[in-house]
Subunit: 303 residues, 4 copies
């Protein structure tokens, strides 16, 4: 269980409180505040704070005086225009702060997105909990034979079983030894410095952090991590965050979905090929100077 | 006047509205929301939005579950500790969004602080107002003969008068010609593209922008720009923002004041010199390998 | 003339020197080093230093031990793959440092690209030269009636003449007064602090800076600023830099040209429309939920 | 051994090559290029590339035309002035690219420095080597009872032995199981996707990356990580890099040593206390409003 009863009580208490503010309020986001949305077996995402809404994007784009007084339709049109033409600065005017619990190997991918603010639980100071990510059987796959960094066929039942046994046994042993190393001498432990003892812990242990990011950079993160090529274990976090963002800034999220998540980036040779095709001409990869791989990716786009 | 009656009515309208939120509210900041604090002759700073408060800093530092449940004294002690030891990430968990109106030459200094989000009024799209910074007489000074980038003695009354006449006349003429260039042909103008016409405008014309920044980077900005060596025309903006921050996050601001704005950075040779002095020894610049300039700066620190 | 004979002699002297290094050398870039490529009437771009070449990109992508020992064809294929799939970090492993002289209104657009290092000539310390950008007649256009931030038809000859007279006269007068203000009292000047006097100078005066950026962020800059929608006066700088980059990292530049500068970003509705069209179906904007503007932009892509 | 004979031959080959360049060459750095400086039991730091030297810092500060023609003494004085007064942009004009091999728990601290470019060896694509950090006995310490994140007394010989046995056994078992999981079925393995198998590996396994950073941000990294409070395992990397930088940009490094690594930051109350002390007055923590902890830290500074 990712949330203890005490923590849940704490969250419920926070959710029960409310105060009056002159700031812009996004009703769709208020409902999510503090709620821990479960991800994987012990992880979660919860919104701690946010700044701005759809109108804050257009307000900044107009450097206007008001909260965004133009008609709603205009706001949506402007947001779509900004997204389509890569005018990113107005999207930076919204900000979100999340509390995330996630396995260390996921955290290591996540942190590569540098334009964000992070405070991670420190295993130099504090003791990590005995919580490890153990995949569900249906997410155990063989190494892909096509894609060097992807997953291929499902494992056999026997092999799945072997993997789970390994992960569980090694996690348990590593944690037992971690405990022995940090335990006080008085209790038969070694009282080893925590900053040293942690090195025995495997990458499927859970950590947690506060992560704060602006909407533009969040979209960049989501485009890469909610993508079908992203590793499943980070994609589920991105998917969960997508739902939150859709409730927070619905126009911006829809534009993001249409122009970034969906849609396609075509190369100049691909555009050339397309124009010929639409005129009814036959085109080959050679005609437009595309490699076999590029051509295959192009074919996937045009269905 | 920086604010027209219509704009003031708009601001008053915004200030009159309030909504309920589950987010952290900083009462000291709520009172400032939207209010335009005048700076220089036509400029202003006003808070559009903010995220977090003092407790949000310690909450992130603790990666805790609550809004910051420890005793108040602990919060202040922790904030001072974080500031003293350059633990900057918890301060990044607070964010502020300002609407600033400022002369272009001030904007050019300001924008050098890169870790912030900015949307500036675009003179490619829109027409700039006829508003120029004309210094008050008491802020007209000669070039310093000591410091290459500072101000020295006050100008004579006659010279002050000459400067003001130049600035006013050149601003007026430049703007008249700007208007002529962008005015429609039908009205005797040239209908020149705005992106071209703007090049005729001098650096004391006012622009405006939305500027969003986290508290750590804001402190960095304030340390450099609220400093006595900063140019007066940007320092007055920094000073105004300091007051806002003091009301928003009082513990953090006090720590900033004690450890960054005030206080001093001593070099290793300066520390060596100090230790000898405290033992009652005579020390010279040569003894500790300091240049005349370093020694002078050191003497200023120790009074 | 942007370069004085003394400066040219200095540049020639630098170009004549060479030293031995163990670092990667990009022969195509060595030929450009220090040479000032003229841009606009008084501006220039010159390469001061660079780090890396095409092989450095693939080396980082492989975190390999060698300088890039794989066959050349592999390098190009890998670079194109990285570009196509937005794997940006390997491109960040190349770096370039430029010395640029440019009008202030261009510098103000340029500086909005934040992920770069900049040292600008300081008019607080130093005196700016009497050099102003005066557009060539063929670059004087009316405000576009279609695009709020673009240029439309050419001006009449008479109007062009009026604009040039205004720009020249106002620049000259502003600079004369700037000189008077900073000139020593002994010479009839006012000896006003330089940081104040500069505010009288219009945005077409030239400034200069050192600008250092990694290849990924440079490509981002070039995509936006070498675009047909960018203002002409910054586009000519971007175009000049494109030529330098093409000689420096030819594979990466070609991939950038094919996938970023050229090519197109299609929305999900546009992809849907395209698939139908390729099947020979009739499609309208309404069918796929595109606005008139989106449809027009889509039609431009597919020719 | 961190470097295989084949890799060493490769490095030697690279070192044997040299080419002619017009760029600035830093002789002190050329000697280090490509050489792997060993750190910890299997790690290393080696310089892959660099840009600039001491003169490049002052050149940017002056936005001059030459490589830095002023007298050497001036250069050093200017560099010290820039460092003392936090003028950071000229230091950003130098850049370094390192290849680093380091334990994962060290990498996790390191990556928190966001203003840098990184390409890490990917365990989604590739198989990690069987190389684990096993501390030397003299670096095994108890948890500090004073500092929550520090090390205290040395372990007893028996306890050291226990720790090392745990770390070795758990590493070996984890790696054996990792191998089993990724091994082909044909060889009795499971052929599990690499991106999944890696989660079984503990934080003392080695990874490697290319890390590129400008000198200003490198100094910031070194100030925090070469500090006595930094964890030993990252400090040894910082110490090694300090030596490289001292050879690369000797003036800048000396200024960094005097003003950042050494020296002290005093708060305003501390400066007040100091002034009184120098006048011979008795001062207590209470007199200047310092906490017991602040006072203790202050006493350490003044010896």
């Amino acid at each position: 269980m990712p949330i203890t009863p005490e923590q849940q009580a704490d969250i419920d208490d926070q959710r029960a409180q409310s105060a009056s503010t002159r700031r812009v309020v996004a009703p769709g986001m208020e409902q999510h505040l503090y709620t821990a949305h479960q991800v994987l077996d012990h992880g979660f995402v919860r919104v701690i704070d946010y700044m701005g809404d759809d109108a804050a994007i257009t307000q900044a784009a107009r450097v206007s005086y008001g909260k965004g007084t133009k008609a709603v339709q205009n706001d949506e049109g402007l947001i779509r225009y900004l997204m389509r033409h890569w005018h990113s600065t107005p999207f930076e005017m919204c900000e979100i702060k999340l509390h995330v619990k996630l396995p260390v190997f996921v955290a290591r991918q996540w942190i590569r997105h540098r334009t964000a603010n992070v405070n991670e639980y420190s295993a130099r100071y504090s003791i990590l909990d005995r919580e490890f990510y153990i995949p569900a059987t249906e997410h155990l796959n063989k190494q892909s034979v096509i894609n060097n960094q992807g997953r291929g066929d499902a494992l056999s039942e026997a092999d799945s079983h072997r993997v789970l046994e390994i992960l569980k046994a090694d996690s348990a042993r590593a944690y037992d030894n971690y405990e022995t190393m940090i335990e006080d001498d008085a209790n038969g432990g070694i009282a080893l410095a925590r900053e040293l003892a942690r090195m025995n812990l495997p990458a499927n242990i859970y950590t947690q952090w506060y992560w704060k990011v602006d909407l533009h950079n969040l979209f960049h993160f989501l485009r890469l991590r909610a993508d079908a090529h992203a590793q499943y274990e980070i994609r589920v976090y991105a998917d969960e965050i997508c739902k939150l963002v859709a409730d927070w800034v619905p126009y911006a999220y829809k534009a993001f979905e249409d122009y970034r998540l969906g849609g396609a980036q075509l190369s100049q040779p691909a555009v050339d090929a397309l124009r010929k095709m639409l005129k009814g001409e036959e085109v080959t990869a050679e005609d437009v100077g595309m490699s076999a791989r590029e051509w295959r990716e192009f074919m996937e786009v045009i269905g």
